[in-house]
């Protein structure tokens, strides 16, 4: 038992990070499952991180209230973003959402209330390991329940063939909006937890580099299943720590694993033991 506590004391920061990363990967997997490569997850995360940090610092709200409010704000922003980009597909959707995320970052860089480029510090450090993993469990359970509903069926149909989906009466626009909003809410939850598990946040934490990481976790784990997203985020968060001795070269394995998965296991790591036809 004491060995276990020792291990936790030594690695608690990494363990917390893995939990937050897993929630982030889940958030992106929601919009990927609807066939949308929307790359604004880091921005949704950032919006929520700032909202929850500002509520905690300036209004002294308790943790659950700041998290909930932050997730709702992110979700609303995501739903509003869904409207103008409703006509965009493929790489054009990806680029438009990257642009949106950059605008969010520049705004965070320039406003007084967000602390500009220096960001915000002194955020109460109250997102403990149980809070983070409790949130992860709730999100995973909710997505699991959702995957058994007609909504999930409609989402899969929109992904596989939009015209066929329209043909059987699925409101494609609504499905796309809901899945973006749900992904925004989950990314918001992760962002709020991130803020309350870090000593400070800066706009650079929520830039395109973070977005790329989230995408890589999803793809490596497997795009079309929540389990894959969690698996990918966990594996790739631990790996660089496990090979610290490689020093500056260690990120190389994340790139090689990503390429290996795309070329040899297009369904992601999760598909390796789950022999089901899954498309990237």
């Amino acid at each position: 038992m004491s060995a276990l506590l020792d291990f936790y004391a030594k690695h608690s920061r990494l363990i917390d990070q893995i939990g937050v990363n897993a929630i982030l990967a889940l958030s992106l997997s929601v919009s990927l499952q609807a066939g949308q490569l929307a790359l604004a997850q880091a921005a949704f995360m950032g919006i929520a991180a700032y909202v929850s940090a500002i509520l905690a610092l300036n209004a002294h709200w308790p943790l659950p209230a700041t998290i909930l409010t932050a997730a709702i704000v992110s979700s609303v922003v995501a739903a509003l973003l869904a409207y103008p980009v409703r006509g965009l597909r493929g790489v054009f959707l990806a680029i438009a959402t990257i642009g949106f995320a950059e605008i969010v970052r520049v705004i965070a860089n320039n406003l007084a209330i967000t602390g500009g480029a220096e960001g915000l510090s002194g955020i109460p450090n109250d997102a403990t390991t149980p809070v983070i993993y409790g949130s992860l469990a709730i999100v995973a359970a909710a997505l699991f329940v959702l995957s058994r509903t007609k909504f999930a069926l409609a989402v899969a149909l929109v992904r596989e063939d939009e015209h066929a989906a329209r043909g059987v009466g699925v409101d494609v626009g609504a499905i796309r909006t809901y899945s973006l909003a749900l992904g925004g809410a989950i990314a918001g939850l992760a962002g709020a937890l991130y803020a309350h598990a870090s000593f400070f946040i800066t706009p650079a934490d929520f830039g395109f580099a973070e977005m790329e990481k989230i995408l890589v976790w999803c793809v490596v784990g497997g795009v079309t299943s929540p389990a894959g997203a969690v698996l990918g985020a966990t594996t790739l968060s631990i790996l660089p720590e496990a090979i610290r001795f490689l020093a500056d070269y260690r990120e190389i394995f994340n790139g090689i694993i990503l390429l290996g998965v795309i070329l040899f296991a297009p369904g992601g790591l999760a598909s390796l033991w789950r022999r089901r036809a899954v498309r990237p």
């Binding site: 965009l88 790489v91 705004i107």
Partner: protein, 293 residues
């Protein structure tokens, strides 16, 4: 003041254009958004740095680094894109595999050079003699960078318009299957496209490094995303559009400083890009129809 800033914008824009033409060429021919373009841009700058440290004169180092970048482009295609092309994986999966290559290149550069900023130590870059032309001031280095970028773009334009390779590249861009049926060697043409695009991107990296006399691991970050805005502005796949888009970006960035908007200039840039994507996805100068992926 404004004239001077416009001149600076012209110098800046030439390098943006050079980066963007390679970015957009790959998209025009293969419909791939190559997110490793900025990593090759950075790798070329470091290659030129190492060569100049070894005593190679800068003009030669620029050419050699561009060739190295071109070869990296061919390897990029073989590793990240060719296998996906063979199994018709669509346009989104290659985007992600190019991120994989970018991560590998970034990690290797970080392993070799560490995270510190590097400078060309050949000396004289920042003390190069200034040229005064009426109210305008610029350095010989800036002028050389500008002329090199323009020369490279003219060469590209000539290759695409007037050579048999250019005709093959354009044919593959229009219809890959029809081009192959007509006897065009698809893989060789794609390799040539990647060589040209990456060599130009690499040259842009070296010129950017020379302009600021600074080489860093993250120097490709801003231009990667701004480059997206440039090729959207110009119409994705349109080489001429990318050149014009690059100069517009250069002018807007320097004018933003004049009007005291420098802190917000990227938000304005991406805002324009977003509106343009939503309202006119073919760009200001593009004629290509919007494609679903």
């Amino acid at each position: 003041m404004i004239a001077q800033q416009l001149l600076n914008g012209l110098f800046l824009g030439a390098v943006y254009s050079l980066f963007a033409v390679g970015y957009t060429l790959v998209f025009g021919v293969l419909d791939i958004l190559n997110l490793a373009h900025a990593a090759i841009f950075t790798a070329a700058a470091f290659t030129a740095f190492s060569l100049s440290m070894a005593g190679v004169p800068l003009p030669l180092a620029l050419i050699a680094a561009a060739i190295v970048a071109g070869i990296m482009g061919i390897l990029l295609d073989r590793v990240a894109f060719a296998p996906l092309r063979a199994r018709n994986a669509g346009t989104l999966v290659p985007l992600i595999s190019s991120i994989g290559v970018a991560i590998v290149i970034g990690a290797v550069l970080r392993g070799i050079y560490g995270i510190d900023e590097r400078h060309f130590t050949t000396g004289g870059l920042d003390t190069a003699p200034a040229i005064h032309a009426g109210p305008l001031t610029f350095t010989i280095v800036e002028l050389t960078i500008f002329l090199s970028a323009i020369a490279l773009m003219l060469v590209l334009s000539w290759v695409l318009r007037s050579t048999s390779l250019g005709r093959r590249i354009r044919a593959v861009g229009q219809d890959r299957i029809a081009a192959a049926l007509l006897g065009i060697n698809l893989e060789a043409t794609v390799a040539a496209t990647f060589f040209i695009a990456s060599a130009l991107g690499g040259a842009a990296g070296v010129l950017t490094a020379l302009r600021y006399d600074s080489i860093t691991l993250d120097m490709g970050g801003p231009i990667e995303l701004k480059g997206l805005a440039v090729i959207i502005l110009g119409g994705m796949g349109s080489v001429t559009g990318a050149v014009i888009g690059g100069f517009i970006l250069g002018a807007v960035e320097t004018l933003a400083v004049v009007f005291g908007l420098s802190a917000w200039r990227d938000a304005i840039l991406f805002g324009v890009m977003f509106v343009l994507l939503v309202a006119r996805p073919t760009g200001l100068f593009g004629k290509r129809a919007l494609r679903a992926a």
